[in-house]
């Protein structure tokens, strides 16, 4: 396959992932699942999935909450993983390259997405006019036109980035000092902190610090896998619900001594 065909297929895949984000929510808007398509198209599933998993952890907390439009992790993943694989570098350099390419791409497409969210306003105004005809089917094309715009908002940048990037990435990688690429590798393991911090800003309400310590201890000291932590979390959440919904008069004491993680009492 030539680079042109590959870039077109990658653009198509990114567009389809975007339609999943604005449609059925099968999960392909997340880096780990989006990377599978890149692996199929470029014929290197192992590298694609390792990069996808790295970006998944990096962007774990990046999520659509309410009307907030986050960095577009779809185009970030597809472009980052594709260019890294096309460069033919070893796995450490490939991961570093993917992170270096993915972060700015995601931020750029975030801006394009906000533009589409604004231009799509004209669709709903057109729908107001069409509604006057009393024909329910006439709004259908307007609805799908919005889908087409979201498709293109990912497909076009991904095509341009992959097509141009594939030819220039070798020269760029050769020009970047090895220390900086190592730095990107270090950063890819540290950036999940931002995502987790983001989740916490929305979750840390009254009394929640003790559950944070619980999860931390289960994982850091006892080495339990995530699913086990989640199951214990469900039990504790159930108990907390029982305590909080107990009839009045059964006030719960929640003042415990401080410990090494007292700084989380925010």
């Amino acid at each position: 396959m030539g680079i042109l065909v590959q870039s077109l297929l990658l653009a198509l895949w990114a567009g389809l992932c975007a339609l999943d984000q604005f449609g059925p929510h099968l999960g392909f808007r997340k880096p780990l699942l989006a990377s599978v398509g890149v692996g199929i198209i470029l014929g290197d599933m192992t590298t694609a999935i390792i990069i996808g998993a790295t970006l998944e952890l990096m962007w774990l907390g990046v999520n659509n909450i309410g009307a907030y439009v986050p960095p577009d992790v779809i185009s970030g993943t597809v472009v980052g993983a594709s260019i890294a694989i096309m460069s033919g570098a070893n796995i450490e350099t490939a991961i570093a390259t993917a992170v270096a390419v993915a972060v700015p791409t995601a931020m750029l497409v975030q801006q394009i997405n906000m533009l589409i969210m604004t231009t799509n306003i004209s669709l709903v105004h057109a729908a107001d006019n069409v509604a006057l005809s009393g024909d329910f089917d006439k709004i259908t094309p307007l609805h799908y036109l919005g889908g087409l715009f979201f498709f293109l908002s990912r497909a076009v940048p991904v095509f341009i980035a992959c097509y141009l990037g594939a030819n220039t990435i070798d020269a760029i990688l050769a020009a970047i000092p090895a220390e900086i690429l190592t730095g990107f590798n270090v950063a890819s393991k540290a950036i999940p902190a931002v995502g987790l911090a983001m989740l916490l800003t929305m979750m840390m309400k009254k009394n929640m610090w003790m559950f944070l310590i619980l999860g931390f201890v289960l994982s850091a000291y006892m080495g339990l896998p995530t699913l086990a932590v989640a199951l214990i979390g469900a039990v504790v959440a159930g108990l907390y619900d029982l305590i909080m919904t107990r009839p009045a008069g059964a006030a719960v004491s929640n003042t415990t001594g401080t410990d090494e993680e007292g700084e989380y009492d925010l």
């Binding site: 339609l19 190592t182 840390m204």
Partner: protein, 272 residues
């Protein structure tokens, strides 16, 4: 008015798989929702005067925004309401429909986006981040879809069958308590999981060694004795304070800041 058939409802279910295609900043999901709901409106208004059809479309084109997975359930209830109200009482349909969007948006965000997606993503990624195994993506895909499809399918059909009676039981004061309790449950679960993810997903280590006598001491080993994952905890705390300060508006800059700081600190050998 005839009873809405299962076939029509399933048409709505398929249409909700395109929900948010026409998402926009002014009225968010309203156009998408009108498109999703059109099969029901067609069945109810197929032989009604044009004026009523126009009004039906207009009232569903009003502002609407909720969690996408809650949309089938809300449309199920809306279908039952549309069927049981006469033309003079359509205000109540819109009132109940828009009354549902807030609580479900909060519930969907806290239980699905903030809890289930991070859990599914971290479990899937942890199974393949080292070896690139296809098992990781498959597990993540199954975790998401084995939960989402029943929510969508039974949400729509139960919403229609139980309709207002479901609302009667849950829509009042008791209903609000259910929402609060579920949101609290998700909140606690989510915080426990995030606490557990800090040691497994955030990897920060220092490469500093301190000369002492004949040998040298690796600072990281000393830090591990104080608290495992001390540096990741500190990094999460710093990010938390930065994001909190700006109400989540500067996350992209925090990511860039961490990126630049890591490159600089690893260059001079402080991070490894």
């Amino acid at each position: 008015m005839g009873k809405i058939t299962k076939k029509t409802l399933n048409k709505v279910l398929w249409r909700t798989q395109t929900t948010q295609f026409s998402h926009n900043y002014e009225r968010m999901q309203s156009l998408s929702l009108t498109y999703d709901f059109a099969p029901v409106l067609k069945e109810l208004y197929g032989d009604r005067p044009k004026e009523e059809r126009v009004h039906a479309m207009q009232r569903h084109l009003e502002y609407f925004n909720t969690h996408p997975i809650a949309i089938p359930f809300i449309l199920g209830i809306t279908a039952a309401l549309e069927e049981s109200t006469d033309e003079d009482h359509k205000d109540s349909v819109v009132a109940i429909k828009t009354g549902l969007m807030g609580p479900f948006a909060g519930l969907g965000d806290s239980m699905l986006n903030l809890t289930w997606f991070p859990i599914a993503g971290s479990i899937g990624a942890s199974m393949c981040v080292a070896n690139g195994s296809i098992i990781g993506p498959i597990v993540m895909f199954l975790m998401i879809n084995l939960l989402y499809w029943p929510l969508k399918y039974y949400g729509l059909h139960l919403g229609y069958e139980k309709g207002v009676s479901l609302l009667g039981a849950e829509g009042g004061i008791g209903g609000l308590q259910i929402f609060d309790r579920l949101a609290n449950f998700a909140n606690v679960l989510g915080v426990v999981v995030v606490g557990g993810l800090i040691p497994t997903t955030v990897k920060v280590a220092t490469g500093i060694t301190i000369a002492s006598g004949e040998g040298s001491i690796a600072l990281q080993e000393q830090l591990d004795k104080v608290l495992p994952c001390l540096l990741p905890v500190i990094l999460v705390l710093i990010c938390y304070l930065f994001i909190k300060k700006s109400n989540g508006k500067n996350t992209a800059w925090v990511i860039l800041g961490v990126l630049v700081a890591c490159i600089a600190l690893s260059w001079v050998g402080i991070l490894a």
